[in-house]
């Protein structure tokens, strides 16, 4: 049904759903995915997104809806960059969390390694932390597991090794006669199994790291007890 024949209520419904989905999306959402989810045409999605973007701009919102990287996303308005910079510089502590450092170290020593293997070793879903490590340019996708599932295998980047003053991962200080825990052995031996991702029928492990910002920065300690 072309836009001009769509009842107003349906348009409002599409707009609200787009706002809700884009608010929780981490990456830009392609218009055809939105169209499929909302059961409307891609043209309708694009028209509604354009209307939303114009509306935010006209209302002088501090955020914007933009089309980037093949999809739509919310982001801070460019003219608010000075405030966001302040938030980035002053609003966060600059301590790498122990959890993030351990994840980084495991990738460095055990590369190439899949996200599922890292998660199995860490005991929590490593997705959030690994994505941020990747955004920072410290780890990157190296290759694909040739086995079933073709899981993405990660390793450290050249820049990261340079920062550490190393020529290659082989120059990392040896771990020595260290016996890893059984869950580690199992996770690594299970081999480069298919990355299970997050199957919908399995309980989702809440990544504890996710509760401290981007997972890298030390957040507040656990809530102080009350009463």
């Amino acid at each position: 049904m072309p836009d001009d024949q769509m009842p107003d209520e349906r348009m409002v419904e599409v707009r609200r759903a787009v706002e809700a989905i884009l608010m929780v999306a981490v990456d830009p959402v392609p218009p055809n995915l939105l169209a499929q989810l909302l059961e409307v045409s891609t043209a309708t999605v694009e028209a509604q997104c354009a209307a939303l973007a114009d509306g935010y701009e006209a209302d002088g919102r501090g955020f914007a809806l933009v089309r980037v990287g093949g999809g739509y996303r919310f982001q801070s308005h460019p003219d608010q960059a000075p405030w966001v910079e302040r938030f980035v510089l002053e609003g966060q502590s600059s301590r790498l969390t122990a959890a993030a450092l351990e994840t980084l170290a495991i990738v460095a020593y055990k590369q190439p390694i899949s996200r599922a293997q890292v998660s199995a070793i860490r005991g929590v879903d490593a997705e959030g932390v690994m994505r941020t490590l990747q955004q920072r340019g410290w780890i990157d996708e190296l290759s694909r597991d040739p086995g079933p599932g073709n899981a993405i295998l990660y390793g450290t980047t050249r820049e990261f090794l340079e920062r550490m003053g190393l020529d290659s991962a082989a120059d990392l200080p040896p771990l020595g006669d260290f016996v890893p825990g059984p869950e580690v052995v199992e996770a690594l031996e299970r081999g480069l199994m298919a990355d299970p991702g997050t199957p919908a029928d399995q309980p989702i492990e809440v990544p504890i790291e996710a509760s401290t910002g981007d997972g890298l920065v030390g957040g507040e300690p656990a809530e102080a007890p009350e009463g």
């Binding site: 608010m23 929780v24 999306a25 981490v26 990456d27 996303r73 919310f74 982001q75 801070s76 960059a81 966001v84 910079e85 980035v88 510089l89 966060q92 600059s94 301590r95 790498l96 122990a98 993030a100 450092l101 351990e102 994840t103 980084l104 170290a105 495991i106 460095a108 020593y109 070793i121 860490r122 005991g123 959030g128 941020t132 955004q135 920072r136 410290w138 990261f160 920062r163 550490m164 003053g165 190393l166 120059d171 990392l172 200080p173 040896p174 771990l175 260290f178 890893p180 825990g181 059984p182 869950e183 580690v184 996710a210 981007d214 890298l216 920065v217």
Partner: protein
């Protein structure tokens, strides 16, 4: 009166008792204790493994109930030791307090479930910084050395500390009757006749002693030992029955009572 309790899953003795008293709308003294025990055994089967801690807690409560019930049934209480009477009331009040506490948190949990259900209808924004701000975030690798990485890797790969270790002083003793039977079959024939006190020397936890006692009862049931107690509170003498062979003993896999 039949008590049907096979549909609910009980989390321990308080659950069961609360349920019997409140939900089933029964007068506890009209419920035969055997139906409480039966209901509990059903739950134990569901658990597949006998949790000694749960079981002993339940037995303790059952014992209090039995005593309360007998007091109730027996006519006249003349000659009852005042201290005993007082102790019983104390036990009862303690049990009542625990039941009330249990019920309080059960109701609080219902509210938490509702809050969580309401909150779960919204998803938080977690997209984080846009690319252009990533570069200006503080350099988190500042001061991190290759040796730090090595230490972090060792921490990450180390066996995760078992929670048992941290609270060993309160962790339940996982004593098994089967193990105790095997030990007794080794020990009693060598000693001839031995006192129960001697058989439990060095045991600190009450549970371990209880398990030893159950093992003795098991051997008695199988007819390989003789048990004798000369007077009330006197030493219990356990002796290997002449002619019985240690090989005759069924080394039980799991204690079935």
């Amino acid at each position: 009166m039949s008590v049907t309790v096979t549909t609910a899953v009980y989390e321990g003795p308080f659950d069961l008792l609360l349920n019997l008293i409140l939900k089933e709308e029964v007068e506890l003294y009209e419920v035969s204790l055997s139906s409480i025990v039966d209901a509990y055994l059903v739950e134990l089967e569901r658990l597949e493994a006998l949790d000694l801690e749960v079981a002993t807690e339940f037995l303790l409560i059952a014992a209090i109930l039995v005593e309360l019930k007998t007091r109730r049934l027996l006519p006249g209480r003349d000659g009852v030791d005042a201290d005993d009477e007082f102790g019983l009331w104390e036990e009862r009040d303690l049990l009542l307090a625990r039941l009330l506490e249990c019920k309080t948190f059960k109701d609080a949990a219902v509210v938490l479930r509702r809050l969580a259900a309401e909150a779960s209808r919204s998803w938080p924004r977690r997209a984080g910084l846009e690319e252009r701000f990533l570069g200006m975030a503080p350099d988190l690798l500042d001061g991190v050395t290759a040796d730090d990485l090595r230490a972090a890797c060792l921490r990450g790969l180390a066996p995760r500390p078992s929670v048992h270790v941290e609270t060993e002083h309160i962790a339940p003793i996982r004593a098994s009757v089967a193990d105790a039977v095997a030990e007794l079959v080794d020990e009693i024939p060598r000693s001839g006749t031995i006192t129960f006190r001697h058989l439990t020397r060095g045991l600190v936890d009450r549970i371990e002693i209880v398990v030893r006692f159950l093992a003795v009862l098991e051997l008695y049931k199988q007819g390989v030992v003789e048990v004798d107690q000369l007077g009330a509170f006197g030493d219990i003498h356990v002796g290997w029955r002449p002619g019985a062979e240690p090989g005759d003993v069924d080394l039980i896999d799991a204690y079935e009572g």
